[in-house]
Amino acid sequence: MKKKYYIFGILYLVAIVFIMNDTWLYTTPIAKLTKVETTREVEGKSTRGTAEKKYSQKMQGIILNGEKKGKTVHFSNEYTYTEMLKQKYHKGDKVFVSGSGIKGVKRDTELVMLLGILIFVLVEAAGRKGILTIITVGINIMIFAVFFLKADNTSNVVAICNKIVILFAIVTLVGLNGVNKKTWAALLSTLCVLVLIMGMFDLVIRHVQELDYSTMEYLGSIDNPDDMFHAEILLSGLGAIMDVAVAIAAALGEIVKQKPDVTFLELFKSGRKIGYDIMGTMINVLLFVFGSGLIPTFLIRMNNDIRFVTIVKLYIPCELCRFLVESIGIVWTIPVSIFITTIFMKLSVKKRRKSC
């Protein structure tokens, strides 16, 4: 038991040390900041009339890789207290150099550190389930990366996303629950719900005025915003919908196991009872993920004299719409998965009886 911790600890340390010194893997020149001088400039005014502190930084760094390795470089930087667009640099930061400026900060060490902690707590707290979770998440990310790298601008986003979503659902459900009847019931319910909500969404969109996709964040020069939007809805709701479907399938499966002659109506009732407990919390989880991501957008615009209601109307309808469609998906999962699981379980009970 103890040995396990030692092995993990050593692996973790080795990984971090490796990532800290992996600059030779990069083709972009990376500099380590060895000296940072920060001076305060004349104070400016913030949007609300309060004083806004301004700073300027003079930095010296050493290039760590590439042809110019070992050369000293100088940068300068200016930032304000808000740090909205420009950030403060600390001594010891590693930065990507382009020309005479800084293109970005190297953040991979922190990413790996956090990832290690996450893996440790997952395995420690959840044991075998934790390992399975990590493996399924890893496979899912790999699937995403493969499709994402393979796709080019001309490929059909919705078609790709449909494939990805089906793969994600299969990998996650089979990976976490194994190959059994409950898994298939949950998988079938998940896919049915996805088809239902996308159908509903298309129906609504066809009969009401078109959604203004130009408000979508990160739009840039993407020329198929509605495809993208469909893909986004499919992906971000998938996790929550699978969660509900699995919970119901597992609970109903347990009931059928304990009491094989349970009636359809009884199963439906207990499924509903389990369902509305999860429904509220799942929508809540999505609400917080979605809501807190919008905070910076609101802060900038509200401080530039745009009213709260106007922002909701003009800047975030796409996000709101996505949230609503996903919530509807979560609610619909309950009856759909109760229905499908019940049929699955009942059929198998009958079959067993016949063979007896």
């Binding site: 970005g104 976490l176 609400l287 509807i328």
Partner: protein, 253 residues
């Protein structure tokens, strides 16, 4: 468009969930209002970390006490969430400070309106705002997790009154580990969906893989997800221990 979707959601919740559905819908609206209120307070210059503490407390109260009543299950869940989030806050702030991930990410920062029309010197520290965002976005999942654990451990105790504290903690961890996999996946997919558009944009801008892996965007999304998952795991044993202790105290009285 939004109105119609809202109506569909309203009717589905009431038809499927009945009375309990209506209660959870009201709680949801309460949370939405609280979130809007905290954005409003942050925007007029109230320190964002203070706002976050207040908002988190209020949201926990709504989710736990309004939806599930005031009893030892909800109280121990409440205390467990407060303890977990306070411990994690130190780490969250440390990571945000070290990596400077506050402020707008690479793509938001090149938006025309931000560059040319708006004054971005808000007098609000975006570092603190980022810490608030991470805490608020994990809150929903953590509350869910801790309530799941306390409710189930309480049931176990009811069925087997002579259970020891260690056994209670063990069963709490077992129940939690059943749920943790899907919770982590829920969080993962929620963030993947959000990042989809962004990844395609980056690809079009010919961002190289190495810059993408070190980008602020990826880090912001990953950090929220990682801390969400870590918080969900940490809250499991804490809730189980607290419920066990509280049940023991109640028996003494």
């Amino acid at each position: 468009m939004l109105g119609i979707l809202g109506l569909i959601l309203l009717f589905s919740v009431i038809i499927v969930g009945g009375e309990r559905g209506a209660i959870s819908l009201i709680a949801l609206c309460g949370n939405l209002l609280l979130l809007s209120l905290s954005i409003f307070l942050m925007a007029i210059g109230v320190p964002s970390l203070l706002v976050t503490i207040g908002a988190s407390g209020a949201v926990s109260c709504i989710t736990l006490f309004y939806q599930n009543g005031s009893n030892i299950k909800t109280w121990s869940a409440f205390v467990a969430v407060v303890v977990t989030m306070s411990v994690l806050f130190v780490f969250i702030y440390g990571v945000v400070w070290r990596t400077e991930i506050g402020g707008l990410n690479e793509i938001q920062a090149v938006g025309e309106d931000v560059l040319y029309y708006y004054n971005v010197n808000l007098g609000i520290s975006m570092k603190n705002v980022m810490a608030s965002i991470i805490i608020l976005s994990t809150l929903g999942a953590v509350l869910d997790m801790s309530l799941t654990v306390t409710v189930s451990v309480y049931e176990v105790k009811n069925h087997k009154p002579d259970i020891t504290i260690t056994e209670m903690i063990k069963s709490g961890m077992h129940i939690g580990s059943e749920v943790i996999g899907t919770t982590v996946n829920t969080l993962l997919f929620a963030y993947l969906g959000e990042s989809l558009l962004l990844f395609s944009y980056l690809k079009m801008q010919k961002y190289s893989m190495e810059l993408l892996l070190n980008s602020k965007i990826l880090f912001q999304n990953c950090v929220s997800m990682f801390f969400g998952a870590i918080a969900c795991v940490l809250v499991m044993p804490i809730s189980a221990i607290l419920l066990a202790k509280m049940a023991w105290l109640e028996e003494l009285e």
